[in-house]
Structures are given as C-alpha cells and as structure tokens.
C-alpha cells in the first residue's frame, strides 16, 4: 500500500511537470525510497541534477560499467506506473493519442505491453496516474474511476509481471525501453580531429558515399538481334537499349529497326531518353526519338514508361509526338519463362499505333502493326544467349493498305535465330 501511495505521489509529480523532455533524476526527491522501483538509492547527491533538456551524463563506461540500475528519468506522466520492471508481455502503451480515453491502454504497437515505453503523453491524460500495481490484478487506483478498462484483469495474462512484486526478476535485456528523445545529430566528424578535416572530407566523399550506393552503372542490352528467314526475302531485326547512371536517374538510349537483305533498311529509329525511377519497378522516360527510316525521317518528342509488371512481365509503353504534329504510340511486353535454369522461352508482343494517317511514312491510323514471337534462348552465359524462335508480324488497316499499294508484304511468319546479349 505504501508503495501504491508513493507511486501515486510520483505520478502526480509527473503530472505537474511538462511531460516531454523532462529529465528529472528521481534521486532529487528527498527521502524517497521506492523498493518497487528498484532505484539505486546509492549516491543520490552525486546524481542529483536539475531538470534540463539533456539527460544526465552517465559516467558509465560501457566496458567496465558496474552492474547497476540507473534511475529512470521521470520523463512521462506515467512514471507512477513504475513500468521499469514491469513486463507485460504483449502490450505496449506506446504512441498514445491525447483524446483517446484509453491513454493508459493504447495497445498500439502492442508489444510486450511495455508501459515503460509510454511515449510522452500529454499531462492531461486522465490515466496518467494509473497505478497498475494497485489494481486488483490490474485495477487502476488514481485514474481508475474514469478508466473504462478498470475491469481489465491483466493479471490473467500469463507471464505478465507486475511492477513492484515481481519486477526484481526483470533485469537487463528483459527490461522495456523508455522514451527518451534521441540526441540531435552533431554536424561535425570526430575523425577530423585525428586525421585532419581535408583528408577526412575527401575520404568521406570517395571512400564512403561513392563506395556505398553512389556508384554509376551502365548496361548495353540487345534483347533482339536476329536473322529472320521468311518468304519473300530473309531479313534482320534488332531491338536494344543502353543506359548509364545511378539507381534513380539514368540516361537511356533505345534503338530498334529491321530490313530485308538486299534491300534498303526499312525501319530504324533511335531514342535518347532521360529515365527516372518512379518506384521499385517502374521508370518514367522522356526524350526524343529520331527515325532514320522510313523516309522521310521524322523527329518525335517521347514520353513513356518502362518496368516490371506484376507477374514478372517486362512492359514498355510510349507516346510519340512528331515534328509534324502526328501522334504515335507503342506498347511492348515480354515474359521470360524459364524452362530450366539454362533454357528460357520468351513470348514477346509489340504493337504500334497511330492517331492519324501519315501517308508520307505509310502509316495508317489505329493499330498499325503487331509482332508476336516466341524465342527460346540458351543462357549458358547470361550475357550471350543464342536463341531460335518464330515471329509473326502483321500490318493492319490503312498501314497495310499503304504497304500493299507499294507492292510490299504486310506480314507473315519468320523463323528467327539470333543472340540476346548484354554487357
């Protein structure tokens, strides 16, 4: 009972003072003896400090630290709970919103009912004085009347150690953390004092930042580089991408094109893009596209997105606005299906769209052309994977009409053989 009174008294003391940032050494309180709180009664004078923003300096060298329990600062109005030794496995009183009538009970973060972890609740907290130890099993004393949880029989919780009576059993790592604020970062670097500020500044830049996440990486990848065997003249095709930069910002080049052997290049384009990571999987890409072929060549402003869709689909989509005001679009996707850990089958689809007829380039509005292919590659070395496959191409609508008018093929099957390569 004495203990309960003392605790209640301490609680009101906590109430009277600003809750946050207090670093009151309990030993300030003359004649206070709280066996239940396990405060070291030794050397109170030496430890007495005025309440300041900074916690009292502990001259406790980590290595030779005598085994002792430091007084906990009465940093919160729940100090009266003596949560120090109190171990309510499973419940955390942390993060208490002020208006919450359960202040003392907020289960948020419910871990180990760590009442010691009560975080700086406002002093008006009606439950501040909650003396759990005085609860019959767990009835509150001071705040009990308002406490809708008064009936809470926490004692029914196995393993729950109430303050005072069992707390002596809780030591070291069994104790729950308090809620002292973290010190603000210091702007200086201690090593400067030993090795000179200049040497350290350069080392921080070169050895630390650049070597720990700050590096530049590049890749050149040709997903397609192939020979196409088909009726009406064998041809070739490529589709590649190169990038350089960090994890977020990259400069990207893309190129694709195709042609028939013995004839002039039919289609060839290159894109120069700024690429920025939007999230773990997707990059936003914007820049310019230049078509060497078909003639006449065109320049486009480009914006697109590229990334990995749920289900492991590599997806790419882009819109192009030409210098003549024409709008084109493209969607591309593929999936790497591992047959084994060495053979990969890649189904792939690419579709081009146009918002209008562009007779000069033989482009009709709507879906202009579609390519679908299956390519089986051997990844003996992942960087150099030869493949074979089939590809089906088809032009549609006015695009097909334009092509037929020229006397060219509007599509068909090809057998393909090539190399997927990167370095």
């Amino acid at each position: 009972m004495t203990r309960a009174l003392l605790l209640a008294g301490l609680a009101s003391f906590g109430l009277a003072a600003p809750a946050i940032g207090q670093s009151m050494d309990h030993s300030m309180m003359p004649g206070m003896s709280m066996p239940g709180m396990k405060m070291p009664a030794k050397k109170p004078a030496a430890r007495a400090k005025p309440a300041t923003k900074k916690p009292a300096v502990r001259k406790a060298p980590a290595r030779k630290a005598p085994v002792r329990r430091a007084a906990r600062p009465a940093a919160d109005p729940h100090a009266g709970h003596d949560m120090t030794g109190m171990k309510m496995p499973g419940m955390s009183m942390g993060r208490t919103p002020a208006p919450d009538p359960h202040v003392g009970h907020d289960m948020s973060g419910m871990q180990g009912m760590d009442m010691g972890g009560q975080q700086a609740a406002p002093a008006k907290d009606p439950h501040a004085g909650h003396d759990m130890s005085a609860m019959p099993g767990m009835g509150a004393s001071t705040g009990a009347q308002q406490d809708p949880h008064a009936g809470h029989d926490m004692s029914a919780m196995p393993g729950m150690a109430m303050s005072g009576n069992q707390s002596a059993a809780k030591v070291g790592t069994d104790l729950s953390p308090g809620n002292k604020p973290a010190p603000a970062p210091a702007g200086d670097h201690l090593a400067d004092r030993f090795w000179g500020a200049d040497a350290m500044a350069s080392s921080r830049e070169n050895d630390l930042r650049r070597e720990h996440g700050g590096m530049t990486v590049y890749q050149i990848l040709f997903n397609l580089a192939e020979y196409q065997a088909r009726e009406g003249g064998d041809g070739y095709r490529w589709d590649g991408e190169a990038w350089i930069g960090g994890d977020i910002n990259r400069f990207t080049l893309k190129t694709e094109g195709e042609g028939t052997f013995g004839k002039p290049l039919e289609q060839a384009e290159v894109q120069a893009l700024y690429s920025r990571a939007l999230d773990p999987y997707w990059n936003l890409q914007a820049g310019v596209r230049y078509d060497f072929k078909p003639n006449p060549s065109r320049t486009y402003a480009t914006v697109g997105i590229e990334g990995l869709a749920p289900g492991w689909f590599e997806v790419e989509g882009a819109l192009f606005l030409s210098d003549k005001g024409d709008v084109l679009g493209r969607a591309e996707g593929y999936y790497d299906q591992r047959i084994t850990n060495w053979f990969v089958l890649q189904p792939r689809v690419e579709a081009n769209f146009s918002a209008q007829d562009v007779p000069e380039t033989g482009t009709g509005s709507g879906l202009t052309d579609l390519e679908a292919g299956f390519r089986l590659r051997y990844e003996g070395r992942r960087e150099f994977a030869p493949y074979i496959g089939v590809s089906w191409e088809r032009q549609f609508g006015d695009t097909a009409r334009f092509t037929r008018a020229r006397g060219d093929n509007t599509g068909g099957f090809s057998f393909v053989a090539g190399v997927r390569t990167w370095f």
Binding site: A60, H102, M110, P148, D247, P280
Partner: protein
C-alpha cells in the same frame, strides 16, 4: 616480428605427396580432392609489434590459380595471436596501387583505430604505411578485413585470436581456427556489376517450368501469387556457388584442408565466417558440437548438431571425437549451391564421406514478413517463443469478449510478437477468434478500424488472400523513406531469434538458434534501455538497392545518434526477403532473447528474412560504422554512421 610461412609451397608439396592416395569414389565430382589433405595450420603473427604487408598475389585453389589480395603473402591473412591486456602496434604496409584499410572486426578500441575509411580515418593510400596502435581489452575469436572497396572479397581477411588474461573457462586440448570464406575467380567488381544489371544472375536454382511439371517447388497457384508480388522465393543468396568456391582457411573443397586431433581430445574449433556474401550452415556429420563462444565472447555451453552463421559472425565449438576416424566438416551455403569442406582426422590424408548438398530452401510467407500470419489458426503460442512478447496473452481473459473495452481501437493494435510494426496482427490469441474468422484482416494488413475484440469472433483467417496483401504499406513503417529502394515492407514481421535459420527448420537434428545462447558472464550493463531505435532493413532486389529505412549511405542520411554511456534498444526489422548480418563497429550488443542480464553479446547478428531482432547497446564515444555485412549490400548502400558523443559535447 612476424613469422610467415609460404603456405602455397607447402600445399604443392602436400598435393604431390598425397597424390597416390585415391579417394573414395562415392564423393561427388566437385568434392574429389586434388590433395589427400593439407594439415597446415594458419601462418601466425604475434607480439606487440606486427607488420602486415598488403599486396596482390596469386593463390592456388583446388589446383587452380587465382588473383588475390593477401597479407604477408597469404590468404587468408596470417592469424594474429594476441593476449588480453597487451598493447599492439600494427604496421600496415600497403603495397597495392590502390587505397586499403584494415578493420579489426569485433575489437573494442578507440574509434580512430577502427579502420573504416571516411568514418574512422582517411584510409591507407597506395604504397604507404599506416600504424594502428591500441590496447587489447578483450579475448576470444575475432577477425580483420579490408573496409576499402571490395578488397575483402579478393582475400583481404584474416583471423584474430586473443588469449584471455585469466584462465580460460573453456577447457580444451587442442584448437583449430576455421576461416570460412567465399572466393570467386572473377573480380568482385564484375560480380557486383552483374547483380546491378540482373539481380538473379548467379542464381541457377530458380523455379522453372520443368520443375513445375515435375511437381517440384511451389504449386502453380503459389507461383502465380508470388509472381503477382514480383517476389522470387528461390532468391536465397545473391551470389552463389555458380561463381563461388567456398574455402576453409583458404583451401577449396578438393584441397581438403585437414584439422588433426587425437581421439578423446577436446578440440576447440574457432569458426569465423569471413565470407563476403555467404551465410553458411555448418555441421560435422557424426560429431556433435558444443558452442562455447559466440562472436568471441563465452556463452553457456550448448550442444547442437548444426549452426547457421552469417558473414562476420564467429562461433567457438568444442568437439570430442572419440574414434580413430575422419570427419567431414561441412560449410554449406544457405542456398545449397555449394559447400566449404574440410576434414577432421587423426592424421593427414584421411577423409570421410562428403554429404551431398541438401535441397535448396524456398522463401516462405514468414520470410516475406508475414510471420504473424503463419500460424494459420492464429496460434499465439508461437509468440511465447518471442522475447518480451505476449506469451500467450489471451484477449478473452482481458475482457474483450465481455465488451468491457468499448471502442477499443484495434486498428492500432500491434498484435505482433516482438512487435515490430504497428498495426500488426501477428500473434495475439483472440480467444474466440482463434481458428476462425477475420475477414478484413487481409485488407491493409490488419487495419481493423473500430473493430472490437468480440467482433472478431467467427472470422475465417483461411479466406485471407495473400495475393491481395499490400506488401508495401508504409503506414507499417513510418520511419522508412518511400522510394524505389523499398520493394516491400514486412506486413507482420516477427521475432525470429528462435528460428534455426532459413532452410534449417526441418533438418532432423539440433540446430542452434540465438535463443539457445546465454552469456557465461553477467552483462556489464544491465540498465533498462532509455529509448528504442527502430531501423528497417530495406531493399529492392530488382534494382539491387539496399539500405536502412529506405536510404542508402550515398544519400547522406542522418547518422544514428547515441550519447556516450547511453543505453538504447535497437530493433531491426527486416523488410526484405533475405537474411542480413548486421554489424556495429566498436560495440557489443546484448540480444533481447529473454535472457535478462545474461543476454548473449554479439557484434553481428543475422536478421532472418521478414524477421526482427532487438538488442541493447551502450554508446561508446566515436563515429562508428553500422552496416550489413553482406559486402555487396553494403556496397549498394546498406550502411549508416553511428555517432556517439558525450552529453554536452553534442552540438
């Protein structure tokens, strides 16, 4: 002065001598020896004044030449043997054409001698000498390695053994230092570059269509669900046996390094995981091991058959082989893509059967941070295993069922064991909710606005759609900076210190867990932590980005601040699907595993995938490195500075 032997010459001699000994045909091809056994102890240096020459060299592994960075002509670097209470001067002569450094892993020393360029000192420039000097105030098994670039992967690591000032509480007749490492014949920059461009590059054990047809691994449904989340359960190790040769004291499996013993002797094996990227499962078939020290410090003896340890951890084990026979020491990579192999034998030239690699594990829901839901029936008994968790807390007994808690806000209730993130449903026994019913739990991972306890009755957990689970709910990790570097946030992480480690759940024998460890000596500081620091281990496998709280070191995050002498609790929450060995320089921390004042003290702790670990630590003045000891994770940014200042000295 230092005494150095040319181990390679010895090796050559040994292989010639042992050439006539044909070894058992039942060994798999990769374990066919090129030597019958090499019982060569590590070259040793000792005294108060030691010179270490860091230089490029060639080394021979399984009969194959490799480039390496060694010290005094040897890889691993020579064993530095010291005595507690002495002082030591270590002259490091850098004969490389690039900067180097040596970090004394696990040693308590003034921070400016800690050897991390950019934090403790400016590094050791090419072709120059730097002298470290510090007192030795501890004893045990430690190690040292470069903290510059990726040199550690090239061979720049070696063991440290400090004999205690007082009589050693561990009795033994003989000891062997066992340095496990991973070596690649490719340059480490190549390895890192491949990971950046294609993170699954080295994994040749992924799930395949033929595997599915053969009924192996996950079912189609599971594969689709995991695919929807863009998570690869076969991603257990980033760099694997496809490019690594796993070494024991610098020798490959075919070299068959051999530790000698006399039957009946108590042999102390000092295991050091000096690998760059490999978590090892260590066992000696037929020979139980008694763990007597962890990370250099004595623990109460605990007998086990196998243990898992991450890069930078160390364990001392006592074995007592009684028969006149050979035993194989197996250090299997966590993804079972290869193994380090050595032999314990009464004499050189003996060998025992080398067990085949076991089946590689697949990540589970628990590894994805859904440990709290792993119970199926929400059996919170599993929580009892977690430290400081709600052992068997029964909400019914709390009166939820009787409605004495009107308006109790479950939405913020962290039902989680060990309670990492708020809003967790891990592990509370909801009384009548058990085994039944919780629709809505699926949504946003357990946010149940305004739901009272009794309402939970009659819901069915089994209908929960894992695929619909938000794997990137930042409300569960308010500390984490949202960005491309964070692929997932563990929805319900649980304390996994009681787990044996990924892939060791059902191996049919005793596997060490952190909860088996208990310090022999009382912890020097048993105060309650004054506050808690929560740190999320975050990453994005697709871009190969790694960090703490979503930030890479290159982004200049604020340092982690402590006061000198301040006692804090650090809770690490693994929001990734990989294990991370987290190391703090210059400190030992006390693992929170319910051992009170006898918590096991470590310098490195392996945080299992989707799991949490808490530890208490007392600040020691200095600027210290804090990082994941997976070398390429650190290189990708998974590092922080811990700034410990005296109170009042802080700005």
């Amino acid at each position: 002065m230092s005494r150095v032997l040319d181990r390679r010459q010895v090796l050559r001699g040994a292989s010639l001598a042992g050439g006539g000994l044909a070894l058992s045909a039942y060994m798999p091809a990769w374990a066919q020896p090129v030597s019958a056994g090499i019982a060569k102890p590590l070259p040793t240096v000792s005294g108060e004044d030691i010179t270490l020459k860091v230089a490029h060299q060639m080394m021979m592994i399984d009969g194959r030449q490799s480039h390496a960075i060694g010290i005094n002509g040897t890889v691993p670097a020579p064993l530095i043997r010291l005595r507690e209470g002495q002082s030591v001067r270590l002259h490091v002569v850098n004969e490389l054409d690039e900067e180097t450094s040596i970090h004394w892993h696990g040693l308590l020393l003034p921070f400016q001698m800690d050897g991390v360029p950019g934090i403790a000192f400016p590094g050791i420039p090419a072709r120059s000498t730097f002298t470290y000097e510090f007192p030795i105030i501890q004893s045990g098994t430690y190690w040292y390695h470069s903290h510059s670039g990726l040199q550690e992967q090239e061979g720049h690591y070696g063991p440290i053994l400090i004999d205690p000032k007082n009589p050693d509480p561990v009795q033994f007749d003989r000891e062997h230092v066992i340095v496990l490492s991973d070596h690649s014949f490719r340059h480490p920059h190549y390895l890192f570059d491949r990971l950046k461009k294609e993170s699954g590059y080295f994994n040749r054990q992924r799930q395949t269509l033929s595997g599915l047809l053969a009924g192996k691994d996950q079912s189609l449904k599971e594969r689709l669900e995991w695919g929807k989340m863009r998570m690869d359960p076969a991603d257990v190790a980033d760099v694997t046996g496809s490019v690594y040769t796993y070494l024991v004291n610098g020798y490959g499996p075919k070299d068959n390094w051999t530790a000698l013993f006399q039957p009946g002797e108590r042999v102390r094996l000092r295991f050091i995981n000096a690998s760059s990227m490999t978590t090892f499962n260590v066992r000696i078939p037929g020979l139980p091991m008694t763990i007597v020290a962890a990370d250099g410090l004595n623990v109460r003896p605990v007998e086990i058959d196998e243990f898992q340890f991450g890069p930078a951890e160390t364990y001392d084990a006592i074995v007592t082989p009684s028969d006149l026979r050979a035993y194989t020491l197996v250090g299997e990579s966590v993804d079972r893509s290869g193994m380090a192999r050595a032999t314990l034998a009464p004499r050189e030239g003996m060998a025992a059967e080398v067990p085949p690699l076991r089946k590689r594990p697949l990540a589970t829901m628990k590894d994805m941070g859904m440990g709290g839901m792993d119970h199926g029936t929400m059996d919170h008994g599993a929580m009892g295993a977690a430290a400081g968790s709600m052992s068997g807390m029964d909400h019914a007994a709390m009166g939820h069922g009787t409605g004495t808690m009107p308006g109790m806000d479950h939405s913020q209730m962290n039902h989680g064991a060990a309670g990492a993130a708020a809003g967790d449903m891990a592990g509370v026994d909801h009384g009548q909710a058990q085994g039944s019913a919780m629709p809505g739990m699926g949504q946003a991972g357990g946010a149940m606005p305004g739901m009272s306890g009794d309402q939970m009755g009659g819901m069915d957990m089994s209908v929960m759609d894992m695929g619909a689970m938000n794997m990137r709910d930042f409300s569960k990790a308010p500390e984490v900076k949202k960005g491309p570097g964070v692929q997932t946030i563990s929805p319900m992480p649980v304390d996994r210190t009681g787990d044996p480690g990924q892939g060791l759940e059902n191996v049919g024998h005793r596997v060490l867990t952190y909860r088996d460890l208990m310090a022999l000596d009382r912890n020097p500081d048993t105060r309650a932590p004054e506050r808690e620091i929560k740190l999320h281990l975050t990453g994005n496998m697709e871009r190969y980005m790694w960090g703490f709280d979503g930030e890479k070191l290159s982004e200049n995050p604020d340092p982690i601040t402590l006061l000198h002498g301040e006692r804090v609790r650090v809770t690490l929450i693994n929001d990734t699907m990989m294990g991370h060995p987290i190391h703090i320089h210059g400190h030992f921390f006390d693992l929170v595993t319910g051992k009170g004042a006898y918590a096991p003290r470590k310098h490195t702790v392996l945080v299992q995938p989707g799991g949490t670990v808490s530890w208490d630590v007392t600040g020691e003045e200095g600027d210290w490195a804090f990082h994941c000891h997976m070398l390429y994770h650190m290189h990708a940014g998974m590092m922080r500075v811990v700034q410990v200042r005296k109170a009042g000295a802080a700005a």
